[in-house]
Each structure stands twice: as structure tokens, then as C-alpha cells.
Symmetry: C2
Subunit: 682 residues, 2 copies
């Protein structure tokens, strides 16, 4: 497939006319592809011919600038080539114009415009490769990923119809795409047909005039069209949790996250956890559509939020991916999830599902689709599929435990040989709900806590402020955002620190220590109990009360006993690696998770906090078509373990209420942390 447009390259300069037999060698770096081509060929056409991975949206019309290359000067004896600047046509008017408008480094050439005049070695920089690698950034735990989104853009310049060529608009587009890009058997979404004519005929200016950019989904379906050259389109990856809804808006071409947003799941008013919501549905027949509308409204708000942040139109979002537990998955689709609350908990559908965004009442591009990652079983949903996709336990030799903590904890244990999974009812405490001063992870939420074991005075850090509260500038810095509550990672840390400093004992009981230190500013007697004051604002006291500690104990016991059950099923008594996922707020400090006894003992360096891994899975599925097939095939191999009917689960659960817990010793943890041997009573 040769791109057209070679003939449109600059001919302003007087070139020596090569004889038809004159050939030149070209080598592409870094791939090493090499070949001989007639002098006069464009670099892009040579690259295409050799199968070099080089991007181009405009098909060689010097519009998109995606095909930039650099000439490598010098003797390349290995290839028998002397590569010289003069072996490419001079920088011409078209490239100058492109550079003036869009900007291009001085050493770069548009490979569609640069003509081979002699032997050359040409470097294809990473940003010019179609299948460019996603680069890890900071704490972003996205795995190495070849960007290959399901929706791709193509820029087309089409001949106008005439009385001698009345070919319909759609055929004109399809014929060109087939000829120029080798896409066979294309069809078109109904909404594409509605907008095609206007885009083709958008005036006589450059922006229109039979020059369009089309979006093609899965190399198959035309879904959207814009007049002129369209630089970027976007995808939205969403994690719909029981308690929170969060999403990342990504540029589909590069994978770059351009905006993020989140909110509480408005379904909370129908029940804090999944079982409460399903009970609500059982008791209120015909109410499933109300819950569906509620969560879809949240998705619509999320779309508005990220579009505002990124300053784009929602019609620039051409694809969305969604992970969620089975109940959320079903409710988003408008499927009554009542059966998920009753043995044997069968799903209505478990495979990955693509639906049109308009069928979910979402205002994205009219041709946009929503892909919901596959579910594994009742209560182990697309969120777990997302976690698997992003953490890759199925590709590892090591026995890996992945725990995704939300309102339920979903646990996956195994390696490339076998994967098993279960779901365990943690409740929403780790997400800051059902905690007296709890809140969703958002600016102002306390995310880090340290308690001085001597004075019992806390230091805190809040989301949105870099300083700890004992920094003299903290009050000033934090003033604009305020200190508003405690999010998931904060509540984990404060409970663990209270345990380490002896304020609570291994049963979670708040000790009478407060009574002894009379008038301690952070220990507040309350009837027969004590409350721990974490922070005072002008109008509010942010504190930890006994029921908060109880909620965290229940939650962490659910995590631990789920892990234990899976280890029994797998027949192992230790794991090589623990990955702790969840939308706690910031990346949870794994040491505190171990101190609480959330997770089985493991060498601390092999325990990692991986953030919102389910959401990352949604982003991966957004950016790489191949991973959708991968996860669909992996989830079919995952074996489900039922916590609800395993007698041992209840035993583990009760014992795991203790801190760290009364099921197992923690030799690895004890090597790094001094656990209170006996509880202090000052």
C-alpha cells in the first residue's frame, strides 16, 4: 500500500532527473529495515514499502506532521552507506509552511515530502511511530503498552462529485480509505451518515472543501467526521465503584491523561453497599431504572467535568471504557441486577460488551461507543478484570495476590498457571464512607497521619497541600482548600498509628489512656468511650470515634480472610508479591496496610500500592485494542471462589478482626516495625 501524495512534493528546486534505473539505499533506524528504491521516491513511501512502523494520518499531504524523521549523517560501513544531507531533497516550501504553522524541529523532515536522492540512513523518532510505547510516568503504574486505540483518525482529500461521477458521499470516503489505507469491508454508523455531508461541504476554506478527517472504530466502522484536519480525539476511562465514580480523559493518539474527575456515586441514597441496593430493588419492584438513571447521570456529570477541565467538546470523546463490579456493570447497562443478590449469583452477561454511548444516554460523540470490561462472576466484575489487565498476575511466574479495595474487596491470587478470585464485603470505610469524619479522596481530605507515640499528638497531610501540619506555613498553605475530612488512606494510617502508639489495643478498643492524660487536646472522653481528635477547624472537629475503628476492623478483616481463603484454595501458605489497589486517595503506604493486618505477611519490599488499578485497566483497554481480547480470554480462565458459602471464611473473618490479626504471625512485618507487645496504659 503506497500512500499517495508523492507527486505533490516540492518540485520548486531543480533536481537532476534520475534515470528510471537509478536506485538508492535507505536504512531506517531504530528498526533496521532496509531496502533499495528508485531515486525520486519519498521516504514515507519507502518506509511503507518496508513495513517500517511510521505514523501518518493525512496520507502524505504534509498536513498531520506525524511522519517526521531525522537524517543521520555519516559513514555506515555496516550497511555500506555514506549518508549525507544532500541525499535528501532540500527542505521545501511545503515543509516550511508546515513548520511555520505547526512548528517542527530544525533537524526534522516530513518523510512524505523528503525525496530520496542518494543513499541515506533515516531515524524514526518514537513520536513518529504508530505503535509508540506508553511511557511510565512517576507513580503511574500503567504497564508497558503499545498505543493502538480502537478508534483511529484518517485525513482524506476527496474529489468532488460531478455529473460524470455521481458516486455517493459514503462510497467516496470508503473507496479512498480502502485504496489509501487498506481498510476492507468498512461500514458506517447511522450517526456518521447524518454528519458526513455537512463536513464534506463545510465551505470553500481550507477547513472544508472535501477535506475531512474521519474516525474509524476497530478498522471497521466509520463513526465520526470533521471538516479539515482533526488533530486529536479523546477517550474516557471510567471506574464506576459502589461509592465513588472516577474517570480519566486521555488523548487517544498518545495516551496522555489530559483531565481527571470524580464524585460520589449518587446511588448511595439507595444503600451504602451493593447488598443494600439490591435489597432496595427486591423490596421496590420496578425501581432498577431509577438506579440506572442515577448512575448514568453521574457518568454524564463526569463527562461534563473532564471536558470543562480539558477545555474540549464532549463530541471530541469518541470512545469510553468502563470498569465496575457486576452490580454497577448491570445497572449502567440498564439490566436489573436483583439476581446478583441471590444464590447462585448468576450474571446476566459476563463478556466484554460494547454499546453505543447514545444508548446509555451519554452525550459523547454521537457515534461513540462504551466498552465495558468483562465480568468474572457474580460479585467479581469488570473492575477486577481491569486490575488483572493493569497488574498482569496472569503473566507472572510469581504467586501474586492482588487486592482491589472498594466497597467490596476483590481479590485475585495466582500466576500464569492459574488464577483464582473472590469478593469480600469490606463496606465503604476504605473509601471514607461510613466513617464519622470520612470523605471521598478530594482536595482537603486528610490522606496521611503520624502520631507521636510519646505525646500522642498527630501530624497530618491533606490532599492538595504539600506540607505536613507541623510545618509553620501549613495553616497559610491549606487555607484555600481547607481541611474537610479523612479519606481512605488517611483512615488506614490513623488507625494503624493509634495502634502503634498504644491508643487502641489489638482488639480495637480505645484505651482509658485519655482519662489518665486529663485534658489531652486530642483525647476526648465521650461517655464510657474516648474519641481521638485529629484536627480542629474553626467550625468542626475531625476525629476518630470507636465506630470508625470498628468499621476499619471489619473492612480489613474482610480483606484478610478473603486472601486467606484464596491461599487455602491455591494450597499455598505464603505469597511472593502483594499488590494493593483501590481509590484510597493517594497511594496507600503498604506498611500501614500490613500493620492493620489487611494483607497476609509478605516481604515488605514485595508489597506495592498500585493506586486505582481498575481505572488503569480501563485506560489500558481504552488505548489498546489488543488488550480487550487479552482480558476477555484471561477472565474466562479465572476460577471464582465463593466467600459466602465457605465455612472457613467466617472463622477467618472473626479472628482477623484483631490488630494485626489473630490468624497468623507477621514475621516480615515485625522485622521492620515494632509492634506493641502489650498495650500501653499510661
Amino acid at each position: 500500500m503506497n500512500p499517495p501524495g508523492n507527486t505533490s512534493s516540492d518540485s520548486s528546486q531543480a533536481l537532476p532527473k534520475p534515470s528510471s534505473a537509478e536506485m538508492a539505499k535507505i536504512v531506517f533506524l531504530p528498526s533496521g529495515h532496509r531496502g533499495e528504491f528508485p531515486v525520486g521516491s519519498s521516504v514515507l513511501s519507502a518506509a511503507r514499502n518496508l513495513g517500517v512502523d511510521i505514523d501518518s494520518v493525512c496520507g502524505g499531504r504534509a498536513v498531520c506532521g506525524r511522519c517526521q524523521v531525522t537524517l543521520c549523517e555519516g559513514e555506515f560501513s555496516k550497511h555500506g552507506i555514506a549518508s549525507k544531507l544532500t541525499h535528501l531533497s532540500a527542505y521545501g516550501e511545503t515543509e516550511k509552511k508546515y513548520s511555520q504553522i505547526k512548528g517542527m524541529n530544525a533537524d526534522r523532515r516530513l518523510s512524505c515530502q523528503a525525496i530520496i536522492l542518494g543513499d541515506v540512513v533515516v531515524d524514526v523518532p518514537p513520536d513518529s511511530q504508530i505503535h509508540r510505547q506508553m511511557v511510565r510516568k512517576g507513580a503511574d503504574e500503567i504497564r508497558d503498552l503499545q498505543i493502538d486505540p480502537v478508534v483511529q483518525l484518517f485525513y482524506l482529500e476527496l474529489p468532488k462529485p460531478s455529473m460524470s461521477d455521481q458516486t455517493c458521499d459514503l462510497s467516496r470516503v470508503i473507496e479512498r480509505l480502502t485504496a489509501e489505507w487498506g481498510l476492507p469491508n468498512l461500514d458506517a454508523d447511522f450517526r456518521f451518515l447524518q454528519t458526513l455531508s455537512a463536513a464534506l461541504r463545510a465551505g470553500e476554506t481550507y477547513a472544508g472543501d472535501w477535506k475531512i478527517t474521519v474516525a474509524v472504530r476497530l478498522k471497521k466502522t466509520l463513526i465520526a467526521v470533521w471538516p479539515g484536519f482533526k488533530e486529536d480525539v479523546y477517550g474516557l476511562a471510567v471506574d464506576v465503584g459502589t461509592t465513588t465514580v472516577a474517570g480519566h480523559l486521555c488523548k487517544l493518539g498518545s495516551g496522555e491523561v489530559v483531565a481527571s474527575g470524580g464524585m460520589m456515586n449518587p446511588q448511595i441514597r439507595f444503600g451504602e453497599d451493593l447488598m443494600s441496593r439490591i435489597s432496595y430493588l427486591q423490596q421496590n419492584e420496578g425501581q432498577a431504572p431509577v438506579l440506572t438513571n442515577s448512575v448514568r447521570k453521574a457518568l454524564a456529570d463526569l463527562v461534563a467535568q473532564v471536558c470543562q477541565e480539558a477545555l474540549i467538546s464532549s463530541s471530541d470523546i469518541v470512545e469510553m471504557t468502563l470498569v465496575g463490579n457486576p452490580t454497577m456493570h448491570h445497572l449502567v447497562l440498564g439490566i436489573d441486577p436483583t439476581q446478583l443478590g441471590m444464590e447462585p449469583f448468576p450474571l446476566v452477561v459476563d463478556s466484554g460488551v460494547s454499546v453505543l454511548a447514545r444508548d446509555l444516554d451519554l452525550q459523547l460523540n454521537p457515534g461513540a461507543s462504551v466498552y465495558l470490561l468483562p465480568c468474572i462472576a457474580g460479585h467479581v466484575g469488570g473492575d477486577t478484570a481491569g486490575v488483572i489487565l493493569s497488574q498482569g498476575p496472569h503473566t507472572s511466574d510469581e504467586m501474586t495476590l492482588v487486592i482491589d479495595v472498594g466497597t467490596n474487596a476483590e481479590l485475585v491470587l495466582g500466576s500464569k498457571n492459574r488464577l483464582i478470585a473472590c469478593s469480600s464485603p469490606t463496606g465503604p470505610a476504605f473509601e471514607g464512607a461510613q466513617i464519622s469524619s470520612g470523605q471521598r479522596a478530594a482536595p482537603g481530605a486528610i490522606e496521611r497521619v503520624r502520631i507521636d507515640p510519646q505525646t500522642l499528638v498527630p501530624r497530618i497531610k491533606v490532599i492538595g497541600c504539600e506540607l505536613w501540619s507541623d510545618d509553620p506555613n501549613f495553616a497559610t498553605e491549606v487555607a484555600s482548600i481547607g481541611v474537610t475530612g479523612i479519606c481512605g488512606s488517611g483512615i488506614i494510617e490513623v488507625v494503624a498509628e493509634l495502634f502503634l502508639s498504644g491508643v487502641i489495643d489489638e482488639t480495637g478498643r480505645m484505651l482509658a489512656k485519655g482519662h489518665v492524660i486529663h485534658n489531652h487536646p486530642h483525647l476526648l472522653p465521650k461517655g464510657r468511650n474516648v474519641e481521638y481528635v485529629l484536627y480542629r477547624t474553626a467550625d468542626r472537629v475531625i476525629k476518630v470515634i470507636p465506630s470508625d475503628i470498628r468499621a476499619i476492623q471489619l473492612a480489613k478483616a474482610a480483606c484478610y480472610s478473603g486472601a486467606k481463603l484464596l491461599m487455602d484454595e491455591m494450597g499455598v501458605d505464603h505469597v511472593d508479591k502483594v499488590l494493593l489497589a483501590g481509590a484510597f486517595g493517594s497511594y496507600i503506604d503498604v506498611k500501614y496496610a500490613m500493620i492493620l493486618g489487611m494483607i497476609p505477611d509478605c516481604e515488605l519490599s514485595r508489597v506495592k500500592s498500585v493506586g486505582n488499578a481498575a481505572g488503569t485497566g480501563a485506560r489500558i483497554a481504552l488505548l489498546s485494542a489488543a488488550t480487550r481480547k487479552e482480558i476477555q480470554s484471561v477472565v474466562r480462565r479465572v476460577e471464582k471462589v465463593e466467600t459466602a458459602i465457605a465455612p472457613k471464611f467466617q472463622d477467618y473473618f472473626v479472628s482477623a478482626m484483631n490488630l494485626p490479626n489473630a490468624v497468623d504471625p507477621f514475621p516480615n512485618l515485625e522485622r521492620v516495625v515494632q509492634l506493641p507487645k502489650t498495650t500501653v496504659c499510661v
Copy 2:
């Protein structure tokens, strides 16, 4: 693929246990398929094994009754078989129960229940064949057709999920369909997923309890589900004309038309003809959605109309087909058709298009699709495709001229070697519009007219009444419906009869005859003109006025000159066959069409009125998936001739205004009709 359920056949009778090697011969009539099977096999399984065309929706569960056969008793020496009643298992409880509930002829057997005990010859009656032939009925010009609708029903009995089998509902359905019916790679419409669970779990009665009927589209997509056994689903075939909208509701399994409906196209308020409506859009930017909503509303009303007539729920309609000219085609789809009004008249899309009914705001079954037949070119649309599909000029050796008369006439000329087509602007006169007393073909409309050439007194016949107006009982019979106006076939006949009786001359001028016969009750002086009174009711005079005659002359001249242009292009001076299509009301009397000079001279026996052939094409595409591929391929071969830019067209048009016309002689017509040599002046 063997159907299950053989083991569920009656075992109430004591059968001699056959040895495993005991075989019996079976011959199926009328196909002649034959084979040997182990004694104990069911007749249905033998039929399936031999590839005999035998229907079954329930997969051998004695639920659907579609697999009925008859045993042929006697010696079949050709096959070496003595076929006896006792060579099939006796009529058992299951068949008795089916017969009691649903009724079954005494000589019939359910082939899924009848067990082969010895050599038999079995007849498969036409109503038990899957690919049963559509039978021509009366004037219904549907061609021989194998019923094979795009949507098929399958009855399934599924195992309930359990803790040891948590397979999701969808996989349960798909696995069964694949195993039992050999349907690979099934997927499901989003709306199917929403209703599946409720259908599977519809109580413990027979109607539910994991017994469902599913509808599968194109052997690929699950689109609908009902609890229990669903006997029938329906399809709606619609012809959306510029002036009228008409539809037939058909049982998909048999093709039977169970209801018909129609109405004026409410877009008429935006212009009587297509060009007026396109002009309206050119002058009122952004109004295309208003026209779209207008025609979609008419479709919605049509759905309600036919459902009420057939007493079915609109959710029982699982597929719709639609034919329309390109402007209607585009407007129904929500595509702005403005470009169709400007040279070079390019379509936005010309291929056959399937869209979800819900995307067109149509309340059919939530998973239903609408298939729009392909268009041929600007102004030659899916209606012409429907005409071609139903009349089959592309399959004929003869030079066939097909004229579809609507607000435009679309003409197709050719044979299996070559087809050419054009569109000619007749205006809506043939549909009863722009005629002073005109109306749509509906009960009360005058559809037949005879004028006594001596007395000039007319006789009429109206739709909905079998009697002519000179019958003594006419007044009584017609009282309930009334005489309300003149429809297309009536206006053609009255103008032709006025010409034959000399009231108008060959230029269409109403003669002074009325002045001579003073006070003639049917000739009404009006200034310098005369009007012809066709019928008087208590409150209204139904008459023909000079502008009516002028409208018919323009319309018929458009037909004739289009035909002439095509004949020039084809290089022929006569045609073998003329087919006259259109929603005139009743089947037009072709003699009158020839007297008017609508069509070129042809042997009268080779001129046929074929009714609403476009609508018939829509019905064919509804009932046979294969014909969709056929028409898609045929339309790509049709060459378009542009009347708008052909200089000869204008010349022909002007000359063809005369009666019959001044372009050609009519030797064939003159052999059967005495044309006025000179106009009479009494």
C-alpha cells in the same frame, strides 16, 4: 446437528427393543431424500441428518408443532419399501396433548415424536418446510419467494444456574443455540440483555421457568426474548412516498399480510413535491430535523394503525423494511437532503442501510431494526429498488419497461443484460393530490369511471363498495362510507373517458359541448370553461375541472417522455412488456393508461398493472434475507439517465402533453380501442 428431545418421546407404549444393528429405511417426500437409520430414531432426527427442509422452532420438544409430517402408506417399489402405519411409533401422549391444545389433523404426526420402527415413506407438507414458498394470492403480484426472514425464532429450554454452574444467562442461551441450532459467533443487542433475565425467570408456570423463545437476526444477533413459546412475530414493510405513506404488517414466519395501513405524508405542508421541500430546506436552514420528525411521526402513526388492526403489540414487530425515494430515504434517516436538489444530485449514502428502530424514534420491539432498500442515484431511490426486486426486469430476457408512478415517476428499462433508469417529475396528480376533488386511495374514493359517450352520464365505483353507481342498491350500500373524492386510478379513468367520449379534445381542452346540451346535469359552465360533474352528494359536488385535466396531462407527459428517453438511450423503438406500478388506489386499468398516452405503445396483453410494486419490494426484502443481497448487487448495475440535463426530454415532454400524445402512433392501442378521430362537437 441432531436436535435433542428424542429421548423425551413417548415411552408409554411397550416397544420391541431393537438390537443396535437393526436399521430401517426412510424416504422423505416431496424431496426424495432417503437414508437408513437405527430403529428408534425420531423422524425429525432422520430428516435433519439427511438435510430435509423441515421446520422446527422448539428443537423437538413437541411445543411448536412446526415439524408435522404425514405417513404415506403403501408399497413404494421404486424405493423397495413397504410403508405401514405401524412402522412409526403409535400416536402418544405428547402428541395427543399437543393436538388437544393447538389442534392437528388426524393424519398428521409430530416428526420429533414419531419414532421409526420400520421402513417408512413420509411426506413433508408445504407448511412444515422452513423455506416454504410464498403462494400468490389473487391480484397480489408478489413473485415466487422462499420465505427466509432475517429474524428467526428459537424456542429453548435451559438448565437453571446453580452454585456448581454459575454460567451467565447470556452464555447459557448462546451455548444452547450453538449446540442445538449450529449458530456460531452469536452476539446480543444491548436491549436483549435488558430483558433476558426477566424472561428466563418469569415465574414457575409453563410460560416461564427457563423456557424462552428468542429472536435472532441474520443468524447472528440476539435481539428479543419472550418467556415460554412465542408463536409469531411480525414485520412491517413500508413505502414512504412523497405524498403517501403505506405499510403492510406481515407474519414473518408465513409472509401473510395481517394488516395494512396508510396516510398522507405530513411533510406535504412543507411542499407538494420533492423539489418544493428541498427548496424549503434551502431557504430555511436547520429545518431538516423538522421534516425528519414529521415523517417519523407518520411512521409511528402507521405502526400504531396496523398494530390496532391486527390486535398485536408493537413489541411483536421485530423488523421493518422501508422503500422511499432518495429524499424520503435521507429524511427518515435524519440526513439533510439539500444536496439532492443541486447538480450533480449526489446521494450521501446509496447502499442498503440497517439501523435500529430506536435510533429512528420508532417504538417497535426494542431490538428491532429497520432496513432501507438501497438507492440507485439521486432521485432514483429505494422505491425503484423495491420495484425492481418485485418485478424482476433484471431476470428477464424481454425488454421490459417498469414505470413506478408517484409524485415522481421512476422508470426502469432493460432486461437481464442491462438496466437503465430515470426519474421524471409527474407531480402528485396520480396520487389524487393537486386535483380539485382528489384524495388518497381510501374507502369512499372514486376509483373507476365509465362515461356513456352518447348521454355523457358517468357511472362510478368507489373503494369499499362492490357496486357501480347505476346499481339500484348503490346509494344504500355506499351510505356508510360515503363518496368522498377521486383517487389516482379514478382520475386516470375519468380523463381517459372524457377523451373517449369527446368531452375533451386531444389538447385536453374541455369542449363547448356543455353549452350545447343546455342544463346537462354533468356539464357545468364556469366562465369560459366547463367543469364535468362526476358525482353529487348532499353537501358537495365531485367534479373534474380544467386544471385537473392539465395536471394529469403534465403527469402523463412526464411518464411518457421519461420512457422515450430511456428507449433512446437503450437504442430500442419498442418494448416487449410494460409494467405499471404505483399506489393509484386499485390496480389501474392499463388500457386507460395507454389511452392517456402515459406509456409507449405495446401489445395490450403485455401491459400489466402491478399495484404498489415498491411496497411489494419492501415486503419481499422483509421476508427473504437473500433478496437483500440480490437487490444490493442489482442496483449497482443500474445506469442512471438524467432527465434534467437531456435536451430531448423537454421536446418529448411538450409533444407528449397531447392525448394520447403527438410523439408516436399507437397501433396496438388502436386495435382495441376506438380513439376519437376528430373531436366531437354535439
